[in-house]
Symmetry: C2
Amino acid sequence: PRNAIHLYEGDLPDNLELGSTIAIDTETMGLNPHRDRLCLVQISSGDGQAHLVQFVPEHLGGRGYGHCPNLKALLQDSSVTKLMHFARFDVAVLQHYLGITLNSIICTKIAARLVYTFTDKHGLAYLSRELLGIDMSKQQQSSDWGSPTLTEDQLQYAASDVLHLHALWNKLEAMLIREGRRDLAQSCYDFLPARAKLDLLGYDVSDIFAHR
Amino acid sequence: PRNAIHLYEGDLPDNLELGSTIAIDTETMGLNPHRDRLCLVQISSGDGQAHLVQFVPEHLGGRGYGHCPNLKALLQDSSVTKLMHFARFDVAVLQHYLGITLNSIICTKIAARLVYTFTDKHGLAYLSRELLGIDMSKQQQSSDWGSPTLTEDQLQYAASDVLHLHALWNKLEAMLIREGRRDLAQSCYDFLPARAKLDLLGYDVSDIFAHR
Ligand SMILES: Nc1ncnc2c1ncn2[C@@H]1O[C@H](COP(=O)(O)O)[C@@H](OP(=O)(O)O)[C@H]1O
Ligand SMILES: Nc1ncnc2c1ncn2[C@@H]1O[C@H](COP(=O)(O)O)[C@@H](OP(=O)(O)O)[C@H]1O
């Protein structure tokens, strides 16, 4: 099959070569990182292969978050660009559960907000349809990602979130250059690690930059 | 008098030595940089002297914004730290009216938000009272700063906004270090030039980092 899905538990395998730009997404039990645990990390180098790392808690017989040196090394390697959609959330989750700080991030949501100004739709499904002609089913988005046995539909969904991100990025990057907003986008990406830290501290509700 | 106020029109004088950290504030006709013009820029090196640059439009016989090489050079000098309270606004105004990008910014409002978490009061008057025991009158804050002849009260008010900022900064910086949030604060300051650009583009209303 052109698109292959590889599922691992607790860490990436040794010696996986993923290149200089990796697409990343996460699935969690919900939208509050303090409450809702990280269940899955999806990674693709953009070659049609999706690498899925599932985290199973120790009390369910899994390895938990404590033994993922390969994944941590990859995520902390600042020579590797991490491509995400709405990175703000995934970065906070990864920081909270793996205890790492990510750098060299780029985000298709921020890029879309800076160039797709003629619409207020900047969701991944919308952008994939508009820019790539790809229809993504978002049906599994709010399914039970904490299940130790993920369904075939869940795996397909999780993979689809990273498989086309490089192609989407290429389109958005070209538009950023066209509109003269690439530097501004870069300044926003550069702030994402701090934005995620602030979110974990509660500054998602009271904006640190607000007057009141 | 211990505190001296120097008023200039259109630019700073030549050869003014202001050191490596300058306090800056601005007064405008209102809170919308696209609508409300920049009237006054206040600067202090923290030595009790306030340097006030008033901008009088050309149709009123003034020099307008076109001839302020000394002020622009100072503001664009990245070896000079620019200390402001709620820098987000002043940076946007200066960027818009003087056509310059400011760097090396620090902001007492952001610092206060990161350490004065036990209150939601982070106004300059409140912080000056709490941390320095200084009572600032905020009476002139919403006066007519576009008047070609500023009153003595206006000049005193404008000066007071920069005269104590270094002292306030020292207190807040010590608290940032105490609470282990100095790096996080720095990441926020670093984002301020982009935050100001985004504000001028209209991303003050629809947050660039928001999910929707
Ligand atoms: N308040 C919120 N509402 C919806 N999705 C949110 C969210 N905060 C973070 N997200 C994340 O943003 C992603 C959806 O982004 P978009 O709506 O732009 O396509 C979701 O990821 P998944 O698609 O991996 O579940 C979800 O986890
Ligand atoms: N929405 C807003 N409401 C009030 N002040 C605002 C504002 N946006 C920007 N400001 C600026 O923030 C400063 C007040 O900050 P604070 O309330 O923290 O003391 C004011 O400067 P001035 O004091 O120079 O007039 C004002 O110009």
